[in-house]
């Protein structure tokens, strides 16, 4: 699904990712863990195609295609979804309208027909229930005045709605209390499938108790310094980043 090789990325002329390699197959859930400043968010943005994240060398293949050559909206239409750490507010644009606009934009890019307002409403309602998202919330302007938990739930709702092939979750646990974390994790687990790859980016092991990964990678200084199974997350929690970094050096 996703093969990253020797990826070097700079932001404002400063190199952040320094030779990152990573490979995820369909049906797998991988976790990227790392301390602040290790390059976690840079990785998520470069995969989504955000402006200002310059690939110096290396390659990103997504389903055999060169991901870096695609515009961000094209990546979205082709099934790349990034649940953001800080979902943005768009005043005056209702959440429902946003969901419909985005869903149909993706469909149109794939040469599929639009779904009408009623159809989208049905689809959204069905998915919203499991995430404890109310009708009232869908009528509010996108993310405006939403609590941290509401914002993250809405990200997962979008993931459920767009059914991406590759979902990247950037610090989805940040700012969530334990109940909200459980709702979000259940939502994510419900979307695990043999067709879908997931990359869960997090600072803490706590999220991985709920979303259990197949592989764990430790990111530090712009490189993967250690890999392992799900038990690596527990090891990290027990030893702390400093110890793991020292061992890897």
């Amino acid at each position: 699904m996703l093969e990253i090789e020797g990826l070097h990325v700079a932001v404002s002329g400063k190199e952040i990712l320094k030779g990152l390699s990573l490979s995820i197959a369909a049906g797998e859930v991988h976790a990227i863990m790392g301390p602040n400043g290790s390059g976690k968010s840079t990785l998520s943005y470069v995969l989504a195609g955000r402006e200002g994240y310059e690939i110096i060398s290396g390659s990103i293949r997504y389903r055999g295609e060169d991901l870096a050559a695609m515009a961000p909206e094209e990546r979205a239409a082709k099934g790349v979804f990034l649940a953001m750490q800080y979902p943005v507010e768009i005043p005056g644009v209702t959440t429902m309208n946003f969901l419909k606009t985005a869903l149909n934009a993706q469909r149109r890019a794939r040469g599929e027909k639009d779904i009408d307002a009623l159809g989208v409403l049905r689809l959204v309602r069905e998915k919203a229930k499991a995430l404890h998202i109310s009708e009232e919330m869908l009528k509010r302007a996108l993310n405006v005045g939403f609590s941290g938990g509401e914002k993250k739930r809405l990200e997962i709702l979008q993931m459920a709605l767009f059914e991406p092939a590759l979902a990247i979750l950037d610090e989805t646990d940040s700012g969530l209390d334990i109940d909200a974390l459980k709702v979000v994790a259940d939502g994510v687990n419900g979307l695990r499938s043999s067709e879908r790859a997931m990359l869960v980016i997090t600072h803490y092991q706590r999220l991985l108790n709920h979303i259990v990964p197949d592989r764990v990678h430790v990111l530090y200084g712009g490189r993967i310094i250690k890999e392992g199974g799900k038990e690596l997350a527990h090891e990290l929690e027990a030893k702390g980043y400093a110890e793991i970094i020292r061992e890897a050096a």
């Binding site: 989504a48 195609g49 955000r50 402006e51 515009a71 961000p72 909206e73 990546r75 979205a76 239409a77 979804f81 990034l82 953001m84 800080y86 979902p87 943005v88 507010e89 768009i90 005043p91 005056g92 644009v93 429902m96 309208n97 946003f98 419909k100 606009t101 985005a102 869903l103 149909n104 934009a105 993706q106 890019a109 639009d114 307002a117 302007a141 979008q158 767009f162």
Partner: protein, 483 residues
């Protein structure tokens, strides 16, 4: 839901200014330039009575002594008033409006291109249309249904002939002949426009609509609209405007007067999409318009809603005179300026009566190298006890070369007045755009979506069928503004 429609329609339109076609129709014109003879020519063409001609000539003489105002934040080469035509009419319509099936098919075709069906579609939509093509009203629909309700809706030239006492009483009573340079010019040479009279206690059974189009080359358009809502009546009036693409600048100097008597309400909506000039700032309409409403009676209400996306220059301040006690004035505005457009627009709320209230919501969007100014006055007369005003001016900037300016004037001479003013300036943030892109929404559509969200409070004031059109325009007028 509507934003989706926006995108679809924007996509369907493709081309940047779809109204830029020219209709090839034989025109009858007044001689070039402006003189007493021009004024006499126009008056004679209209078959006007002597009193009307005198009124015009008085305006003309006054205008000769006036100077073009320079206080607005707009810059343009001097207008040569002697090098323009002040009257142009399709030859076949020179004898005044006829019934729909007698009208030149080419005109009908033009209106169809504009998406203004003067036929059953409108009947279904329940809108009565008075279409002004250059200087003459070519068709007024639904007269019968309106006359059953006692509502008069006709070209103003017809009203001058058929309802002289109403016209004499109200014409120039809100915007005096001597009001300002452009209004005085209009008083001298206006060639047509709409007239509406809604009798006491009547709720106008349908939305009234006028569609203005400048077609002929080198022509100014000077329409004059007069709306009178008698005691306890209600009317909603819509106005739309387009013009062909031309390299030269064309002058549009309209006057709109609204009179609301006791307990009456007038809702006036405009979607202005005159040709804005090209991407280098060449051509486009100079839009110098005087619009004023008089809340003459107690508990009357006048509400202006405008979506200004076109014109090279916009100079326009739809205002309210809140004379009647407990009267209400509202101004909802979206002004978009892209490329080299300049907009200086806002409102004036004159609180004269007791317990008068006004509300101003202005949304200015600047892109390209455009300059967008909100200029507004809230004045409270010494006798206007308990007057209240709320003003909110929001500016949105797209890109780094445009400008937004807010110039609010507040004059309060009564201590009991409560005046609130809020202003914000923001940019479309990179993270908002990225968020949209990441969810698969292409850039231009994302800009349209965000801007429509920014304008939402104003768009909600528009009648349904106009709101869709307006959202579409927001998207089109900002094409090419990002990236």
């Amino acid at each position: 839901m509507a934003a989706l429609e926006t995108r679809e329609q924007v996509a369907a339109l493709g081309e940047k200014y779809k109204y830029g076609f020219v209709t090839d129709i034989e025109m009858e014109r007044a001689p070039k330039g402006l003189s007493e003879d021009t004024v006499r020519f126009i008056s004679a063409k209209k078959g006007e009575p002597e009193w009307m001609l005198e009124w015009r000539l008085g305006a003309y003489r006054r205008w000769r002594q006036m100077r073009e105002p320079t206080w607005a934040r707009v810059h343009y080469d001097p207008i040569d008033y002697e090098n323009a035509y002040y009257y142009a009419a399709p030859k076949s319509a020179a004898d005044g409006p006829k019934s729909l099936d007698e009208i030149d098919p080419k005109l009908i075709e033009t209106y169809n291109k504009l998406g203004i069906p003067l036929n059953e579609q409108m009947l279904l939509a329940g809108v009565a249309v008075d279409a002004v093509f250059d200087s003459v009203s070519v068709a007024t629909t639904f007269k019968e249904k309106l006359s059953e309700a006692g509502v008069i809706f006709c070209p103003i030239s017809e009203a001058i002939r058929d309802y002289p006492e109403l016209v004499k009483k109200y014409l120039g009573s809100v915007v005096p002949v001597t009001d300002n340079f452009f209004a005085t010019l209009n008083s001298a040479v206006f060639s047509d426009g709409s007239f509406v009279y809604v009798p006491k206690g009547v709720r106008c059974p349908m939305e009234l609509s006028t569609y203005f189009r400048i077609n002929a080359q080198g022509t100014g358009q000077f329409e004059r609209t007069l709306i009178i809502a008698d005691e306890g009546s209600y009317v909603s009036y819509l106005e739309g405007c387009t013009a062909p693409k031309r390299d030269e600048n064309q002058l549009h100097a309209a006057v709109v007067e609204l009179v609301a008597l006791e307990g009456a309400e007038i809702k006036y909506s405009t979607v202005q999409n005159w040709y804005p000039g090209d991407e280098e700032g060449k051509g486009g309409i100079y839009n110098f318009v005087t619009k004023r409403g008089d809340c003459r009676g107690a508990r009357s209400k006048i509400s202006w809603t405008q979506v200004e996306t076109g014109s090279a220059i916009t100079w326009k301040y739809p205002s309210c005179l809140l004379r009647g006690d407990d009267s209400v004035g509202e101004f909802y505005s979206i002004a978009i300026a892209n490329h080299f457009q300049q907009a200086d627009t806002g409102t004036k709320m004159h609180h004269l009566g007791k317990n008068t209230r006004s509300r101003i919501i202005s949304k200015g969007i600047s892109a390209g190298q455009a300059q967008n100014t909100y200029r507004g006055l809230v004045s409270v007369h010494p006798r206007a006890a308990n007057a209240r005003n709320y003003t909110q001016c929001d500016s949105l900037l797209i890109g780094g070369k445009c400008g937004a300016h807010t110039v609010p004037y507040i004059e309060s001479r009564n201590k009991s007045a409560r005046i609130e003013h809020e202003a914000t300036t923001s940019k479309i943030a990179e993270d908002q755009l990225f968020y949209c892109l990441q969810r698969g929404i292409p850039q231009e559509e994302a800009v349209a979506l965000i801007v429509n969200g920014f304008c939402r409070e104003v768009l909600q004031q528009l009648p349904m069928e106009f709101a869709v059109e307006a959202q579409k325009l927001v998207g089109i007028s900002l094409e090419g503004s990002v990236g």
